[in-house]
């Protein structure tokens, strides 16, 4: 039942997104504009700074992720559908999980485009250890999106949500971003340091467990008026 509700919410979000592709396109465009801006700071005389790629990748991801988080719930608010969703006879945590899965898929789709672009533009061997990199990206995305989905959902009712979301989200998710950046740089350097990357993957798993548990636990009381 729990999984069924989650998948229904996910399907609904994906169907809306597949028709308009609004969030995917805007998020992707914003992520790529971030790359352009970073090139100003991290490229000197045509050569990208060593080790810049992992930071650029993760910061572009978090910035564009924030944009997407704001939009998914703005759409619910605009259509007056959030209340309907919450009034449905379904468990609240299941709704949260459905929303989270949609968010994670959207961010992973962005990453699929961003990754080759960063590798190409900033001359980083990002695909040297594809499995470890995939683990870092998926775990990092889940960690970021789990807090982000919860905060974006609870901010829907406030007037200042656009400002408050990054204010709340960035300090809390700093550990996830640190783990992602450090782990990715360990993989990008020559030769790749697998031991360090695995250590960060372990830490990311820890953060994910804590964040997802807390979010599932607090979603219900937070969404009750």
């Amino acid at each position: 039942m729990f999984l069924k509700v989650a998948i229904l919410v996910l399907k609904k979000d994906l169907a809306i997104e597949a028709r308009s592709r609004e969030i995917l396109y805007t998020t992707l465009f914003f992520a790529i504009s971030c790359l352009l801006i970073f090139s100003v700071a991290f490229v000197k005389e045509g050569v990208p700074a060593e080790d810049a790629a992992s930071g650029i990748l993760w910061i572009a991801l978090t910035f564009s992720g924030t944009l997407a988080l704001g939009r998914t719930f703005e759409r619910e608010r605009y259509g007056e559908t959030l209340r309907a969703l919450l009034m449905a006879p379904a468990s609240r945590p299941a709704i949260y999980v459905g929303k989270l899965l949609g968010m994670v898929l959207l961010m992973l789709a962005t990453e699929a485009v961003l990754l080759p672009l960063v590798s190409f533009l900033f001359r980083a061997p990002l695909f040297a250890r594809p499995l470890l990199l995939a683990a870092l990206l998926v775990l990092g995305t889940v960690g970021f999106a789990s807090v982000g989905t919860l905060f974006a959902a609870m901010l829907v009712r406030t007037r200042t949500r656009d400002v408050l979301l990054p204010i709340l989200l960035y300090p809390i998710t700093v550990p996830v971003i640190i783990a992602g950046v450090r782990g990715t740089s360990a993989l990008v350097q020559a030769p790749p340091d697998e031991a360090v990357a695995t250590l960060w993957i372990g830490l990311l798993t820890g953060f994910d467990v804590v964040f997802v548990t807390l979010a599932l636990w607090t979603f219900e009381p937070l969404m009750t008026e």
Partner: protein, 221 residues
């Protein structure tokens, strides 16, 4: 809480009056000499931060699930105190770092995470101020998540190789310099008593503010 306020304030004053004497009397540490003495207040400040974050996390959870107004008062009071003690801890650490490491600030795991903690609780205060109606609940979520990251901050120095001393430093200190060890815990107790005194004062202020709000609403009706 209100009855204990004056006695506890007196205890805190007495402890803080003795602390400098104790710090002056304890022998120099062999490598850092005079500079090391900042440790007694630096460590104690972070003990107060720990207590404060803990109170905020627990009070936030109680408020979120039970809706008790008193818990919310404790949460906001301890969140404010966290930012105050955290600022003091960052400043004292920075001063010590200037002498011990030669730099004011180092982007090391513990320092970065402590900076993050300060930002989390400043964020908490911002939400309360600008979140509009219902902001207490949003802030409560922030308090719970902030408290959940505290253990990671504590353990960060053991996981990542950094310049900041590891958590085992307290055990070695207890074995090698019992005088210094006792003094560190005396200072920590002083800071904890100060924390309780300030918390009591701030909670009472918050209660009065809530009462005033209710009176305004009643007068309007």
């Amino acid at each position: 809480m209100r009855k204990l306020f004056l006695p506890l304030a007196a205890v805190a004053a007495a402890m803080f009056a003795y602390a400098p004497v104790g710090i002056a009397k304890v022998p120099y540490e062999s490598t850092m000499l005079l500079v090391q003495k900042i440790f007694y207040f630096h460590f104690a400040t972070w003990m107060a931060v720990t207590a404060s974050v803990l109170v905020c996390g627990v009070a936030s959870a109680i408020y979120l699930f039970k809706g008790t107004a008193a818990a919310d008062h404790y949460a906001v009071a301890s969140a404010e105190l966290t930012t105050v003690f955290c600022t003091f801890g960052l400043v004292s650490g920075s001063l010590w770092g200037r002498k011990a490491w030669g730099v004011w600030w180092q982007w090391d795991a513990r320092l970065t995470m402590a900076f993050m903690l300060e930002m989390v609780f400043l964020g908490y205060l911002l939400v309360r101020k600008y979140g509009g109606p219902g902001a207490e609940k949003l802030a409560a979520a922030m308090g719970i998540f902030g408290a959940a990251t505290a253990p990671f901050i504590y353990k960060s120095v053991d996981w990542w190789r950094t310049v900041h001393p590891q958590t085992t430093v307290m055990k070695t200190l207890g074995d090698k310099f019992p005088a210094a060890w006792n003094l560190v815990w005396f200072c920590s107790a002083a800071f904890l008593v100060l924390f309780v005194v300030l918390l009591a004062a701030r909670v009472q202020l918050e209660q009065l503010r809530a009462e005033l709000d209710r009176a305004y609403l009643a007068a309007e009706e």
